[in-house]
Amino acid sequence: MSRRKRTPEWEFLRYVTLGQYLPTGSFIHRMHPAFKLLVFGLLVAAVTFSQTITVNLILLVTMVVLVRLARVPVRHALEGVRLALPALLVMAVFQVLLPPKMVTMAGSDGACLSLWAWQRFVVTDCSLRLVVVSVARLIELIVLTTLLTSSTTTTELAYGTEALLSPCRRLGLPAHQLAMVVTIALRFVPTLALQMERIVKAQTARGADFGLDGRWRFIRMIRRLLPLLVPLFLVSLRRSETLVVAMAARGYTGNARRSHRIRQRVRPADYLALGIAGAFCVLMFVLDFKA
């Protein structure tokens, strides 16, 4: 090889970062996981469907309050925003200069005020509003997801999912199985990372080259993926066969009523938080529809 290539690190476990849990013991940390997930869902809905600057300002303030309430360091909460900054800037520039056609048409009275124009680039107040709203929305969503992962352990997440879905069991929705899927997945990511490391090393020993090439050599990159991905899939399928036998041998059937070693208790504060979040969500929808 004449040219030096950037090779990726081979210690794959380093890349496995699932939700950095920060045990600050705040109210948000101590919430019942099912209620926390519900509140999270309501807030995500409020953010996703927010269309106006006013609503987004309120939502941004809410995020600040929530971060304080969770006692998560502001730096940690904004880390995701920092990572997203380049994409955010590019998106903002594109949306200002080349807004999607529906935006230019969809002013409340059908017309947008043109603020600046040069050749085919036109900046209107509609496109500016769109940019402000979508940047704010993105920041809110990033802060929300960071808050969830830093205040909830993965076990609690699986427990919460199961508790939330258990009323749907009557409709035939396998709540317990879904939670088990999540638990198995989270448990096996590090195991499979080690497996992947072995595959990469084995294939390198056989002469494969996994250096990162430039973007123009994507066909070569694709051909390189085959000797990695095919063994990875086969090894994981074989592992799952073993796990099936192991679980069945221990009497796991999946449909029996199973109990938990640790039981989370629902407190009045959980209902209160859910009520506040629900009212807040409705308020945001109303404000949006009015505008």
């Binding site: 990726p8 690190e9 890349y15 496995v16 699932l18 995701g80 990572l83 997203a84 994409a87 955010l88 998106m91 080349l98 999607p100 056609k101 529906m102 935006v103 979508s134 929305r137 997801t145 969830l148 199985q177 879904l178 088990m180 899927v181 999540v182 198995i184 997945a185 989270l186 096996f188 990511v189 499979l192 990372a193 992947m196 595959i199 990469v200 084995a202 996994f210 990162l212 973007r215 123009w216 994507f218 990159m221 694709i222 993926l225 085959l226 990695l228 991905l229 095919v230 063994p231 899939f233 086969l234 994981s236 399928l237 799952s240 099936v244 036998v245 069945a248 059937t253 999946g254 449909n255």
Partner: protein, 185 residues
């Protein structure tokens, strides 16, 4: 032994295979190699939807749908672009990847097994591309012509990658299931 064990473990197998395939998805999404193929356009082509396709073909539409749902949740939680921080774009389309792949596979299985697997992979990938871009246009993130360009420049290579990998994995797995052996890595 084979039949009696299998009849009691169908439910367990579905749960386990879904879980492990979700783990593969999550892992590929985190590692520097495997999950994304950098393209000259600056946008990456992905292989993260392949576990949903494989799960759908091997274990049915429920498994495909669950893997897709978890893939969607994962990409929503980790997204750093506005497009995928929208749950409607990140989560909803992904549920259908494994389902359409399963339907295509079942529909064509009568004619030729390999053809069915290949087409199922193509259909699953196309479902992902078309639904994600379609909803992105509907939600106003992308202009329609830009979305159409991305569909051609990224959708087609993604289909090729998915077809090749899915075929190799499913064919090899079905054979391994009948006569065990071979390299462990």
């Amino acid at each position: 032994m084979e039949t009696s064990v299998q009849s009691t473990t169908v439910g367990v197998r579905r749960v386990v295979i879904s879980g492990i395939m979700v783990a593969v998805t999550v892992l590929l999404g985190m590692l520097p190699v495997g999950g994304f193929i950098p393209f000259p356009t600056g946008v990456n082509a992905t292989t993260l939807h392949i576990p949903a396709i494989i799960g759908g073909i091997l274990e049915g539409w429920q498994v495909g749908g669950i893997i897709g749902l978890c893939f969607g949740l994962f990409s929503f939680l980790r997204a750093s672009t506005p497009l995928f921080k929208d749950p409607l774009v990140a989560i909803l389309p992904r549920i259908f990847i494994g389902i359409t792949a399963y339907l295509a596979y079942k529909g064509l299985q009568r004619f030729e097994e390999r053809l069915a697997i290949g087409v199922a992979a193509g259909v699953g990938t196309a479902t992902n591309t078309i639904l994600v871009l379609g909803i992105a246009v509907w939600r106003g993130y992308l202009a329609p012509d830009l979305a159409a360009t991305i569909a051609v420049t990224h959708g087609l290579p993604e289909i090729v990658v998915a077809v090749v990998i899915t075929l190799a994995v499913v064919v090899a797995w079905r054979q391994i299931a009948s006569r065990r052996g071979g390299s462990s890595v």
